[in-house]
Point group: C2
């Protein structure tokens, strides 16, 4: 029999804590964990947290529903270094009818907080791909998991405003390794393609301390994806990815990057 909310809170608490390792081949030329791999650790934490508490992907899939990531922001004071163990905490900040806000804290050895994350998720019907009311699941139990008072001192996702004239800087075709179990291009792969716009020499001098992405529409195997880049301030960039289909070109995601000199 399924456990009650009270039993689950007793067993797991409201905040999930997950140990991770900055694996040697997941680190960049500066020995820093790649931002894409850090994003993957955050998405895992979201998945493990919600699964343990009865509203994860596996449970929802049996109801023909799934979580869709709408926004992700990561802001770091420093990145985990090669072989570092670090903890990712995750919790629900709030839940409304169509969206839930989920936050993250990244903690390095010695219990030092090195960064935070924010994310926004929607629930969709896997057949119609239309949004569903979160509060219809388990009589709105997700609301009880909210921990609105836990600190997450980074700016909420902003509105990425790009001019239509931003120049094309890259293009790729979504291939086998880009596509995950859901059949669409994986959220993390967009992050990697965005980061690949910048030369490695730039990463040697500058730290990507804030990365933000808004997922607008799904793309699929074989789609041609185009990347447009705009410099909007000193070491501040915005990137738009759009897909080209026989029907024309349409936006898939928008990303915003803030770098600082080491």
């Amino acid at each position: 029999m399924a456990e009650t909310f009270e039993e689950l809170v007793e067993k797991y608490g409201k905040v999930g804590r997950y140990k991770n390792l900055a694996e040697p081949f997941h680190c960049d030329v500066n020995h820093n964990l790649f931002m894409g791999h850090l994003g993957n650790h955050l998405l895992n934490a979201a998945d493990f947290h919600s699964s343990d508490r009865g509203f994860g992907m596996r449970t929802l899939n049996t109801l023909n529903k799934t979580w869709v990531l709408s926004r992700l922001v990561i802001e770091m004071e420093e990145m985990p270094k090669r072989y570092d163990e670090f903890v990712v905490e995750s919790w629900v900040e709030s839940a409304m009818r169509f969206f839930t806000n989920r936050n993250f804290r990244v903690i390095s050895q010695g219990d030092k907080t090195i960064g935070y994350g924010r994310s926004i998720w929607a629930l969709i019907d896997t057949e119609t791909r239309q949004p569903c009311n979160l509060l219809d699941i388990k009589e709105g139990e997700i609301v009880k998991w909210a921990e609105p008072d836990l600190e997450c001192p980074i700016a909420k996702p902003g509105r990425v405003k790009m001019s239509k004239e931003a120049p094309l800087v890259g293009e790729f075709r979504a291939a086998y390794n880009d596509v995950d179990v859901n059949g669409h291009v994986n959220s993390i792969k967009y992050i990697e393609h965005v980061l690949d716009i910048f030369p490695i020499s730039y990463y040697k001098d500058y730290m990507l301390y804030r990365f933000e992405i808004a997922y607008v529409a799904e793309s699929y195997y074989g789609d041609t994806l185009k990347l447009y880049l705009e410099e909007i301030g000193e070491n501040e960039y915005e990137v738009r990815i759009s897909k080209v289909t026989p029907e024309g070109e349409s936006e898939c995601c928008r990303s915003s990057l803030r770098f600082k000199h080491y």
Copy 2:
């Protein structure tokens, strides 16, 4: 003080065993762990095994030496599925002056062996990039770690013979995410680029059960890499990756793939 060989054997045994999880976003459209991610788990096992026993990358780096992967073969009866826990065992089969053979066994839940791996590594000087004698390290202690009698019932790496006329099927420029802490294109990234040659529809019907790669020369950030494909039998393919530099085109690696119908 450094532990003696006898103390290390007592503490760790000759075979390393590492628990892994087929993470949700590391699985393909069939819910199978991507071969590239499986390869990464094997390389981690190699690194953890050698580090614990005093001949890992971190120890060798202090001597201006490092391990270079020369060959990797993975042969699987089945792949770990999404959320599966699995164990990777790793041990040294043998060690000679310039190469060591390291094997792997992949074990799923219920203690079922689902596959094996073989690898060949060379030791190089990080400054001259020239091969070094393994037996000069810790008075040849690596030889004592060998477990030649442990079963690894898959064929050794073969010689990949491709015709010069194999057609060009893909091209990419080595970007930020392709390059690891060593400053060269990461071994796993070549695997991913090779697998991306094949259409997703092929993976839905066919299982890649044997993957083999020979690393011939390093490539670096910004190199243009070209992929050539040859079908050498039914569901048997060979792929060559070469790099184009101002000096001309030269081979980086060769790979051999065997698929079977599900």
